[in-house]
């Protein structure tokens, strides 16, 4: 466990970008054998700081000390030589190569000067994985192993390069709850072996459970460093955001009415023609939020696509407010009262080059008052935008600002303003808070509950169990294209986690 010797010190790190100070005289230290969490909202400066440490950025001011000695990091190579390893949020692995090949890549053991010694590589990998309790098969191909295993490979890669300091950038973002707790066990065994870990996250509960100390950044400045045993979720949220934040979604008991979205025995194929949704039946009634939980890639995307007319249905039926919408085109579905907050606001929800007024008109431009006989009235687009931007509290730009100029949270507000502003009967929200910070998440959640309270049906699809649990009135778990269980909102996370990985099969009472 942690002793008081410092593995790493960052002193007064300042990094400026044009128009913003991303890191403002940040002090940070890491004791040997501790997990030190770096907590902050998007844009608080966590990644900049780590990129400085990893040699990707050069600080304008400040000093990095490793083992008490000042060092200069001019590239990741220097950082690796100093014993720093980084596990990125998006893995840097080659899918068709084996675990061992990936681990030794760039630093391969050789025989007789030139010949790749795969056997030695495999042995070395086996030795490392046994020592740290990181079970992986060195001969397995990356593409055939789970995301959690892939992450272990990334960690092994760093250990293979003799890392003593590990930086983990949002490591649990891609993991199931089970995989996350396995990861935490691995991190514990690493610190027992004397490694030091910097754990970057914006999830409060996991920071509290894994970290020894927590440093909170806000707007490029270090707000506080505190031992995690003295911290609470509420206190940390306040430090991150700078004001009181409502972590629990405030909502009354649901008052479900008639079913507005009804899906019967739906089968949908994915892009490769394989069946991705296999006989899903569900119902969302007016005045309730139904959450679909599941690990990414279990048919959620195809299900949403089918509901919103983006993908043809193989068999089964979809009804919106009693009208058949099976394989109707997107425009018909949207006009029949389905609102869709797409998974990726930048790629699918917005035309970034368009002004906010144009983005807000994306589904209504064909109708009066926006247009008549194909003739567009930009002034009316702007008038509507002005109203929506005010009603939905979008900041950082007016009707004529380009969508690209807004922060992620405000971009999402624009999408929500468009979809909710059309007064849909059914709202499909896919990952509505992905990549947003605490303040913006609070806003989105409040809006979704408001929509529910206006007697609409809300279908929420999210990979974040927290979000599913705090918003949903009913929870359906999707696994391999099927609904494998229905749960109430008070279900423990672990139980959902088991169902999400196919641990139990229960046919949903639809």
């Amino acid at each position: 466990m942690a002793d008081d010797a410092l593995a790493l010190e960052l002193r007064g790190i300042t990094k400026r970008f044009p128009g913003v100070v991303a890191n403002d005289r940040i002090d940070f230290d890491l004791r040997r054998g501790e997990v030190h969490a770096l907590l902050g909202e998007n844009g608080a400066g966590k990644s900049t700081l780590m990129n400085v440490l990893y040699g990707l950025y050069h600080p304008d001011e400040g000093e990095i000390r490793i083992g008490g000695e000042p060092v200069k990091m001019s590239s990741p190579k220097d950082a690796i030589a100093q014993g720093i390893g980084m596990v990125h949020q998006h893995f840097m692995l080659i899918p068709v190569m084996t675990v061992a090949e990936n681990i030794v890549l760039g630093n391969e053991p050789r025989r007789e000067g030139a010949i790749l010694d795969l056997k030695a590589a495999g042995n070395r990998v086996r030795e490392l994985s046994e020592r740290y309790g990181l079970a992986v098969d060195p001969r397995a191909r990356i593409q055939n192993i789970s995301v959690g295993r892939q992450q272990r490979v990334e960690i092994l890669k760093a250990l293979y390069r003799d890392a003593e300091i590990l930086i983990l950038d949002e490591p649990t973002a891609v993991l199931t709850p089970q995989e996350a707790s396995e990861l935490f066990a691995v991190l514990r065994s690493l610190t027992d072996e004397g490694l030091s870990i910097i754990f970057i996250s914006h999830k409060l509960n996991e920071v509290l459970s894994i970290a020894d100390r927590i440093t909170v950044l806000r707007r490029g400045k270090r707000v506080e460093t505190l031992p995690s045993k003295h911290a609470t979720e509420e206190g940390l949220a306040k430090l991150m955001v700078g004001r009181e934040v409502l972590l629990r979604v405030d909502k009354t008991a649901p008052n479900p009415g008639e079913p507005l979205l009804r899906i019967e025995d739906l089968a949908v194929a994915d892009d490769r023609g394989l069946e991705a949704v296999r006989g899903v039946s569900l119902e969302v009634r007016a005045g309730e939020i139904v959450g679909i939980a599941g690990v990414d890639g279990n048919g959620q995307t195809e299900l949403i696509d089918a509901i919103t007319g983006l993908r043809r249905v193989v068999s089964g039926r979809i009804q919106v407010a009693g009208r058949d919408m099976t394989s109707a085109d997107t425009r018909t579905v949207l006009d029949e009262g389905v609102g869709h907050i797409p998974e990726d606001r930048q790629a699918r929800g917005l035309v970034l080059e368009f002004s906010l007024a144009e983005n807000l008109a994306l589904e209504d431009y064909r109708r009066p008052p926006d247009s008549r006989w194909g003739w567009l009235f930009p002034a009316r687009l702007i008038a509507r935008a002005r109203r929506l931007l005010r009603d939905f509290d979008v900041r950082g730009g007016g009707p004529n600002s380009r969508a690209a100029a807004l922060s992620g949270g405000n971009q999402q507000k624009v999408v929500i303003a468009r979809e909710v502003g059309r007064d849909p009967r059914v709202l499909v929200a896919a990952q509505p808070t992905r990549g947003l910070d605490v303040g913006a998440i609070e806003y989105v959640h409040r809006r979704l509950v408001e929509v529910r309270d206006q007697e609409k049906a809300v279908l929420l699809i999210s990979l974040e169990l927290d979000e599913i649990l705090s918003l949903s009135d009913r929870i359906l778990v999707m696994y391999e294209g099927r609904i494998v269980g229905e749960f109430g909102p008070e279900t423990p996370e672990e139980e959902l986690g088991v169902a999400m990985t196919g641990g139990r099969r229960e046919v949903a009472a639809a």
Binding site: G43, A44, R219, G309, L310, Y365, G374, P378, R395, S407
Partner: protein, 408 residues
């Protein structure tokens, strides 16, 4: 409720589609980059003149400038100079006319995220249909005959590009490939139509591989200069009107809104219920209509007859259809920009042609190559300004793409 405004500098990189990338560079460079680009191209061109001919590049450029007729606008030139300048300017604007239209053709497709490089074939299709309509159907009243020829010629260009748009929309065949292939279909079709024993070969002289002359009353009215000496015809105003039409379609119609949405982000457009495939087809068809219009206007304005050589000789990169790409690029797909860049290229073509350039100042054989040289440099620097902006941005983003995916 407030969300803290800790917006980091919005690090947007070049976007995902051609159109959004283009819009990005356009914002980054503004009007300055095309201007600087042009000046720089002329500067390098001048260096070449100096090195090869050992002539003063300024006197060469002055001769080219006078050859373009743009000195007509100067109030201080003598009467004799003005007469000559007027003649030169008419020739320049005569070339500017089709360049505006082929520039619009490329630009319109560009706005939908498509690259129409078959402007030359669509231009040829327009001129073939134009010459056919205007040389047959004699007896129609002149105005009706002209309108019919122009409409059918423009539609021919639209239909040809529409094929490429249709293929893109249905089977995903890339329009760069299909428009080039369609070019050659038209070039060889013209060879058959106007060739020996071809169905549209002239009845005047059996050894000539060309069309019949168009009817006298289908000649476009020459409003400035001498009709015998290729004065400026009213087609120039059609081209100017099309600049307005282009702007209006894109900015004031739902179709233009859809085209821009698809061009910037086809995924978001699809998610919003826009039929992306329909837009691909329509924008290619409209694009081709502009190019077809250029072809028919040239026929009715000053060519009056088409020969096989005329069409097949235009397959090279110097032809107006291909020059439209340069016009659109330099004009940055905006109506005003396209007007000025069409004028620049029209002036260049005309000012350096040996008809206008004083042979004692510059050897005629080099003259045309100087045009190509400057054209090439302009295009090169358009590419280079993108490169320059990219490098300039890369300076503060040490790892490109890194910032976009991570949080700060």
């Amino acid at each position: 409720m407030t969300e803290p405004q800790v917006t980091p500098p919005v690090e947007e990189g070049p976007g995902e589609t051609v159109a959004s990338r283009f819009a990005f560079y356009q914002r980054a460079g503004g009007i300055l980059t095309p201007l600087v680009t042009t000046v720089f191209a002329f500067f390098i061109g001048g260096l070449v003149v100096l090195l090869i001919t050992h002539k003063n590049p300024f006197s060469t450029y002055k001769a080219i400038f006078n050859g373009t007729g743009l000195n007509w606008f100067f109030p201080w030139i003598s009467h004799a100079e003005r007469v000559n300048a007027a003649y030169n300017l008419q020739s320049t604007l005569l070339l500017t006319t089709p360049l505006i239209l082929t520039g619009l053709a490329v630009a319109f497709a560009f706005r939908a995220g498509l690259f129409n490089i078959g402007g030359q074939g669509q231009y040829a299709a327009g001129s073939i249909v134009g010459v056919w309509v205007a040389s047959s159907l004699t007896g129609l009243p002149g105005l009706l005959h002209i309108v019919l020829g122009i409409v059918l010629g423009a539609l021919a260009g639209g239909a040809l590009a529409g094929i490429a748009g249709f293929l893109r929309a249905t089977v995903g065949a890339h329009e760069v490939i299909t428009t080039i292939m369609l070019n050659w279909i038209v070039f060889w079709l013209a060879g058959w139509l106007f060739g020996q024993q071809g169905p549209l070969q002239t009845s005047r002289e059996r050894s000539l591989t060309q069309s019949n002359d168009i009817a006298q009353n289908t000649h476009l009215h020459v409003f400035w200069g001498n009709p015998i000496l290729q004065g400026l015809h009213v087609g120039f105003f059609i081209a100017l009107a099309m600049l307005v039409v282009y702007w209006v379609i894109l900015n004031r119609t739902t179709l233009g809104y859809e085209v821009r949405a698809v061009g910037f982000n086809p995924e978001a457009a699809r998610y919003a219920g826009i039929d992306v495939r329909r837009i691909y087809f329509l924008s290619m068809a409209i694009s081709g209509t502009f190019a077809g219009l250029a072809g028919v206007i040239d026929v009715l304005g000053w060519k009056f007859v088409l020969s096989v050589d005329d069409i097949q000789g235009q397959a090279g990169a110097g032809a107006v259809g291909f020059l439209g790409i340069a016009v659109a690029l330099l004009g940055r797909n905006s109506a005003v920009g396209i007007f000025f860049s069409a004028l620049l290229f029209g002036a260049l073509l005309n000012g350096t042609s040996d008809r206008h350039l004083d042979p004692t100042v510059f050897p005629p054989t080099l003259a045309e190559n100087l045009t190509l040289l400057i054209q090439g440099l302009v295009l090169l620097f358009i590419g280079a300004d993108i490169l320059v902006i990219y490098l300039w941005r890369a300076r503060r983003r040490i790892v490109p793409g890194k910032l976009r995916s991570s949080s700060t």
